[in-house]
């Protein structure tokens, strides 16, 4: 086990975690401000990826593809908010879960109907392809470095937006007391649509960025959605900081667990059963992490204590 491999795996885990953050941030923001659990967030991730793949195929430009992903997801998010989600804010969680589950069905089958069942491919543009040399002699794909940097920039921007701008103040006020800020003259329904579209745009961007290193297919969003739920449970609902810490923890645990747990079991098992047991335990590692956090702090690392 060399240092180079370890460093590579840590970077992989970081990259995975940062992309999870883009999903989790939107979810946690939407829950924090509107009190809504949105299962269809994974569909918006998928919408972003498909829009990017379609536009990249048509124009050949990766930047246009990313723009299309942002726009398509934000518009889809805004429409869904105005048509369906708006009616759910005062409902109980069961209704929210079911309505957004119904939206998943509609989005998934609709996409299958438009694009067919076969996966699409989104290529990494030539100027971002290939490896890059990092200090210490580590060769690492440039594109993944870009993903980490972009994700961190967005995390920083989101933090600044929420703590420094007028819209951020309104969002924080909305989390605390929605009647009060409505009484102060803020158009609350416009604010809600905006927050939802913002969350959707982040999910769409994540879908497009990840779509370039995986295949773009129907149903790609839901596994990521469930991981984002794990992130939120670990970080605490409503906390952007919690989402960032949780994402990185989940990303690192999943990636490092997949590599090192089989190695670990080789210390006292024979090779084939070590690989078997190791990969099985690795597949459960993040959920075990979630269980431990729940025992220690039921409302997550940065959640409000009950």
């Amino acid at each position: 086990m060399s240092i180079v491999l370890l460093a590579e795996q840590i970077l992989n885990g970081l990259q995975f975690g940062i992309m999870l953050f883009l999903m989790a941030a939107g979810l946690t923001l939407i829950f924090g401000v509107m009190g809504l659990i949105n299962l269809a967030h994974g569909s918006l991730y998928m919408v972003g990826a498909f829009a990017a793949a379609a536009v990249a195929g048509y124009t050949g430009s990766f930047l246009f593809a990313l723009l299309a992903a942002l726009m398509a997801a934000a518009i889809a998010g805004a429409i869904v908010e105005m048509v369906v989600i708006r009616r759910l804010y005062n409902r109980d969680h069961l209704d929210q879960v079911l309505a957004t589950f119904a939206l998943i069905l509609i989005f998934s089958e609709g996409t299958r109907w438009l694009f067919g069942s076969f996966p699409l491919f989104l290529d990494i543009p030539s100027y971002l392809a290939g490896p890059v040399k990092l200090p210490g002699g580590i060769e690492y794909p440039l594109y993944r470095i870009v993903l980490i940097v972009v994700g961190l920039l967005i995390a920083g921007g989101l933090g600044l937006m929420i703590s420094k701008t007028r819209i951020g103040i309104q969002i924080r006020a909305g989390e605390n007391d929605r009647e009060m800020i409505a009484a102060l003259g803020v158009d609350i329904s416009k604010l809600y649509t905006l927050v939802f579209a913002l969350g959707a745009a982040l999910a769409g961007l994540a879908g497009a960025l990840v779509g370039a290193i995986q295949s773009v297919e129907v149903g790609m969003g839901e596994p990521v959605l469930i991981l984002a739920f794990v992130v939120i449970v670990i970080g605490g609902i409503g906390s952007i900081k919690g989402a960032l810490v949780g994402s990185v923890l989940v990303g690192l645990t999943d990636t490092l667990g997949g590599v090192f747990l089989p190695q670990f079991f080789k210390l006292f098992l024979d090779v084939s059963s070590a690989t078997n047991v190791g990969s099985s335990v690795a597949s459960m590692a993040i959920y075990i992490l979630m269980g431990c956090v729940l025992i220690w702090r039921p409302t997550g690392l940065y959640g409000k204590q009950q």
């Binding site: 829950f31 659990i37 369906v84 009616r87 969680h93 069961l94 209704d95 879960v97 079911l98 309505a99 589950f101 119904a102 939206l103 998943i104 069905l105 509609i106 998934s108 089958e109 609709g110 299958r112 109907w113 839901e222 596994p223 469930i226 739920f229 794990v230 939120i232 449970v233 609902i237 078997n276 990969s279 099985s280 690795a282 597949s283 459960m284 959920y287 979630m290 269980g291 729940l294 025992i295 039921p298 409302t299």
Partner: protein, 327 residues
Amino acid sequence: MINERHFNSFMIAIFIIVPAWAYINDEPFTITLMTRAVVFALAAVGLNIALGIGGLVSFGHAAFFGMGGYAMGILAFHAQSFTPIIETPFLLEGTKSMPIIWLVAIALSALLALAIGALSLRTSGVYFIMITLAFAQMMYFFSISWSAYGGEDGLSIYVRNGFPGLNTLDPIQFYLIAFVILAFALFLFARISNSPFGLALNAARQSEQRVETVGLNTQRIRLVAFVMSGAVTGLAGALFADLNRFVSPTMFSWQLSGEIIVFIIIGGVGRLFGPVVGALVFVALEHFLGELSDFWHIYLGLLLLIIVLFGKGGIIGLICGRQRAHE
């Protein structure tokens, strides 16, 4: 408005007349469809204990459904390949006997529900939904990575397991087994919801503080309900695996967890026959819409959206009106 009791009798009649008609006219496929509806209904009756009476929105009941399925798959797999499950520290062999498989399925899914419930019930609301969903996903990935039992491909069982005195490969006889189990589960559900335990569980959903003030431990009541709920759904999983003679990780999938909730919602939350109506309508839609269009899930989604947004109380609510208080 039709009396709910009359409506329930009507539902029972459907589940007797349709298979009888199919049997007389030699339509085994219809019987299989009805068996599918009965098994789904059983899974949803299980969830209805937690969701309907206790208000616990579990989005992870596929974990128990799959657990029951794999209990059947693993036991039958070892029996058909004549290999022991474990040899040390004691010999444990597979079996092809349904009653034993059912007991194992119930026990294992109850244990899993105890573990998941103990962790998830530390929280409530949205956290609970996300955590149950996450644990079911954990079981899904675990079943994929456990290559000894087929991994992603699942396990095929060549001959349906046996029940003393019956030929289970005959569709109508297998249907009867499933039907009797469902009837028993409905009886159990009715007894639970009217028992002091069920009333306390119901009360804990409506006002947790008051129940605690009376001196009851709501956490423990909910955990017991969750375990019972998981056990019934696990039994349904074992039957489902036997119906298809196949288990695979899809029995653990999040879609399935969602569908089990959908059965209850279509029928009516907390109603005795809600899951039965919902499962029947779902299987009918799956069959008839599935013939019309490959994309029938769009219509299912739209129907579900309409029911959630505009129709309160599902189909039974529509036909029989609001639920009456306990007599």
